[in-house]
Symmetry: C2
Subunit: 366 residues, 2 copies
């Protein structure tokens, strides 16, 4: 696994450098393009470069379904009909990431992934992104190209058009996208959990937090573990297909796990005015995480966050039907119960209450 | 004019303090609420407080037209039909503003105003906003309340629903909204200017740049001048009605003046592959700005930016027809001509070419 800084290994890299050269109108003999700073290229040159990258990647909206005006005007325009979804979530340097841990390409992917995940948690599919970028003037142009490349990669993966945005100077790196999506006939909400529902989750929990711990503490693992937990943290894969399938099968209550399983389950319980019990021995933890983090792995799974799996509640038979047609693993981990609204209780395999260790991530409070 | 820091004089202030008290569940005897920091309230308390302020102001989308899900879920949802518009533009502390010049209420107003102005420049009307906020932990809760209040005020003014967003910790204040709007039967674009069109602009130019110069240099003016130029900079009023009216009367090419008249006219010319001539003596400068800044006022009007007036081109008879039904002043300031695409030439009253002094605002280049 490659977690080095600024390491862009995609075959399109050469094309991007060529694009920089064309846009800037400079021959390589005059400037070392791999060291060029934004302060040399300027805002207008950068916008032209990014627009060209988006359009050549086919995600700029120029030839896209329903897009009337893509990036380059005061606003984007698209034909719309039905139920639309909108969300925004920012990544800020030093708060959400360190450029020592992420490549710029991974940052581009993740910034859109966390927004796409919000659309997935509503049972919708992503359509359009507007991206607001803040960049320091001494940023290397090549890094911004890599950032765009990461955005293009996830946009292609989820058939998302990047139709607008803005770029401003900032003292640190800020990536603040908004994603517009389309809902199907029914929407998943936080407020639809009912007493008697089972609590369930897609995939595995704790892998992303394990990856973060590895990166921050410089832990060494074998390649398979390092790759699994590194990718979970650096390149999360939003559960769009799973959200759509859950909504189609009659699931009504869901959230994506971003702040941690327990913190996010509390949010469902608060919004739905119900309580929940979680059997901690049922919480799905990947075998590689268990192998690497032993007894710590449960804490990572309960409180770690940034999993971007879907946490949902429904009648058991609804979940069983959905499971039959999904490629993603579904695990029943608890029950929605009638107790104090918002309360989440942890139970061990004997039914004994387990004390909480700590809550999930909350900004401003440490 | 009041340009003092953190000076919230709105009658709703008391209500907001009460709301803080209710949400936080603390009596005033335990905490001095006017000094409470975000680090004491926490992210979840802050979200609850902001949601309550938005809903009580009637702009939270809870009871709003077409809104199915307002703020508080993973994404907002709304019923949509027709042509939608989307834009995003961020304000970053130290780059776009200083908290020494703006009240927090003015920042809230302006952050949405610059986005609404982009919708106006397409001839559309704003519908929904998603607001991504980055706030330092030592921010006073009362300031965030004032910021929300400024957003609520402009949302009420333009019938905009604030239906979602996110709040994260950041080392400096970041306000990154996205605004979704609706277009009518025709859209104003940057790429529709034609040779033979007249160049025209709504309102006056240079007042905002004059206000910024006053604030930055601590210049003293009489109350009327200080109020006019201060408000132009701190509380710009987007030309939504004007944009709709221009589109209805057959205008097709427009941009809002954010980077400066000449810089933005260049953008129209580049997108439309035409050139333009501007008669500098026709550029509309407010008498109060002329009185205060004398011969400097033309430079402010040509290059100052942040006017948020609409700059547009159309046949002269189309402009005359539109002018008849608009409350806003329209001024013909030049011609679209067949010359090198993107080129803007300044002419004095005798037809002599005037040399440019400097370009408009461009990020990364100083």
């Amino acid at each position: 696994m490659d977690i080095g800084k600024n390491n862009v290994t995609h075959p399109c890299k050469l094309y991007h450098l060529l694009a920089i050269k064309q846009v800037v109108g400079l021959s390589e003999s005059r400037y070392n393009l791999t060291m060029m700073k934004l302060s040399q290229l300027g805002e207008l040159g950068l916008i032209e470069l990014i627009t060209e990258i988006l359009n050549k990647s086919g995600v700029g909206g120029a030839s896209q379904r329903d897009v009337v005006i893509g990036s380059g005007d005061d606003a984007a325009a698209w034909h719309s009909q039905g139920l639309e979804l909108g969300t925004t979530d920012a990544l800020i340097q030093g708060v959400h990431f360190s450029v020592d841990n992420f490549t710029w390409e991974e940052l581009g992917w993740k910034a859109l992934a966390v927004n796409i995940s919000d659309i997935a948690a509503m049972g919708g599919s992503p359509s359009y992104a507007l991206v607001s970028l803040g960049l320091p003037p001494d940023t290397e142009v090549e890094n911004v190209v890599a950032l765009c490349h990461g955005m293009c990669a996830i946009a292609q993966e989820f058939n998302l058009a990047i139709i607008g945005g803005n770029i401003v100077e900032a003292p640190l790196l800020i990536i603040s996208p908004s994603v517009i999506g389309r809902a199907g006939n029914s929407i998943l909400t936080r407020s639809a959990a009912l007493t008697g529902d089972k609590v369930a989750v897609t995939g595995f929990l704790g892998s992303s937090a394990a990856g973060l711990r590895m990166l921050q503490a410089g832990l060494k693992f074998d390649a398979e573990i390092a790759s699994h937990i590194g990718q979970a943290h650096l390149r999360p894969y939003p559960r769009v297909a799973e959200g759509i399938s859950l909504a189609q099968h009659g699931v009504q209550a869901a959230i994506d796990v971003s702040d941690g399983l327990i913190a996010d389950l509390q949010k469902i319980c608060q919004a739905s005015k119900v309580a929940a019990q979680v059997w901690v021995n049922k919480v799905p933890i990947h075998p590689l995480v268990q192998a690497a983090f032993k007894e710590d792995s449960l804490q990572l799974a309960l409180y770690g966050g940034e999993d971007y799996e879907l946490l949902f509640t429904a009648k058991e038979e609804v979940i069983k039907q959905a499971e039959g047609v999904m490629s993603s693993k579904l695990t029943l981990i608890g029950d929605v119960v009638a107790a104090e609204p918002g309360q989440v209780t942890l139970l061990d395999e004997t039914g004994e209450v387990v004390a909480w260790e700590r809550g999930g991530w909350e900004h401003f409070k440490r």
